[in-house]
Amino acid sequence: MNETEYLKIVSPFKDKIFRVAKRLLVSTEEAEDATQEVLLKLWNHRQKFKDYNSPEAFAMTMTKNWCFDRIKSKQAQNLKIVHNNYEDHSQSLQKSIEVNDSLRWVEKHMEALPAKQKLILQLRDIEHYEFNEIAKVLDMTEATIRVSLSRARKTIREKLTKTHNYGIKKH
């Protein structure tokens, strides 16, 4: 496989890798590092691409494993990474004004979910994966995925209702 073929295969889902990594690792920098790592691994394994019927699922599994390893090693070091996104502020300032405050609440509530639920929600509601695809990536049954997806969706909705009604209705 040459470079153009590789790019043709990888380009459609490189952003997905990045978003999934960002969902799990929170920091943009770390997510970019993770994506770079995964893409490099894919390049090194490009000869085996033909053996996989879905390179994308393969890439997703890789991303998931890499991110979970990162999270684990962070916990093992007892190093609490505070999710600072050192972004270009001139741009993010503009964005933060544009983006509704409630969207940031969604992000916060999603961040608070357990890693597996986070990942499932990301793959389903943002990346639009079918259940059997998610099952392949996570190595879980479709039924378990539906259960934790439902749990994640409910948790977020409940939390959002709370923040939404805060100061308006009595709890």
């Binding site: 990888v10 990045f18 978003r19 969207l103 969604v106 943002i126 969706r153 909705r157 939404h164």
Partner: protein, 162 residues
């Protein structure tokens, strides 16, 4: 879309039983149409899902090492040239020993003459520019014709021998 329809879809959605198509319907509804007040929460949820998908990876893709072979060729070519020059200089030293006394003498004399000339060149060297330097040292060289003659003598010796 009818409100009742949406509400039942949302129920299904929270149970994790909606298909991708149905979820797309929900997204479409909550991002485009006016939303009933009690469903306002879902609007931010689905708007977030849609907006988050715009995030993209900005760094260049890592497959740029296709020209590494070219560099490998350059490297091997460089190694060959270095080896070759090293070989040449080493063997030429051996040749010097093989020369007769006269030849060695002539060689050394030439070297001396070169040295002298280069000394004169250095004296004439100014930080101005290379052309100036050469012209001035030539002028000085004219004054010290003796040195040039010496150079001539030793070159003649070489030619006479050969």
């Amino acid at each position: 879309m009818e409100l009742k329809n949406i509400e039942s879809l949302l129920e299904k959605y929270e149970e994790g039983q909606t298909s991708l198509q149905e979820e797309a319907q929900l997204k479409h509804y909550f991002t485009t149409e006016t939303v009933a007040p009690h469903l306002e929460v879902y609007r931010s949820l689905f708007t977030y899902f849609v907006s988050d998908k715009q995030l993209s990876y900005q760094r260049p893709l890592p497959a740029t090492r296709h020209n590494s072979n070219k560099y490998r060729w350059f490297a091997s070519a460089a190694v060959v040239t270095i080896m070759f020059t090293a070989f040449m200089t080493l063997t030429s030293k051996d040749e010097f020993i093989k020369l007769s006394n006269e030849e060695q003498f002539a060689y050394n004399e030439t070297l001396k003459a070169f040295d002298l000339i280069s000394n004169q060149m250095h004296k004439g060297a100014t930080p101005l520019n290379a052309l100036n330097m050469i012209s001035t040292s030539f002028e000085k060289g004219q004054q010290n014709v003796v040195f040039l003659e010496e150079f001539n003598n030793s070159t003649n010796k070489i030619f006479n021998i050969k």
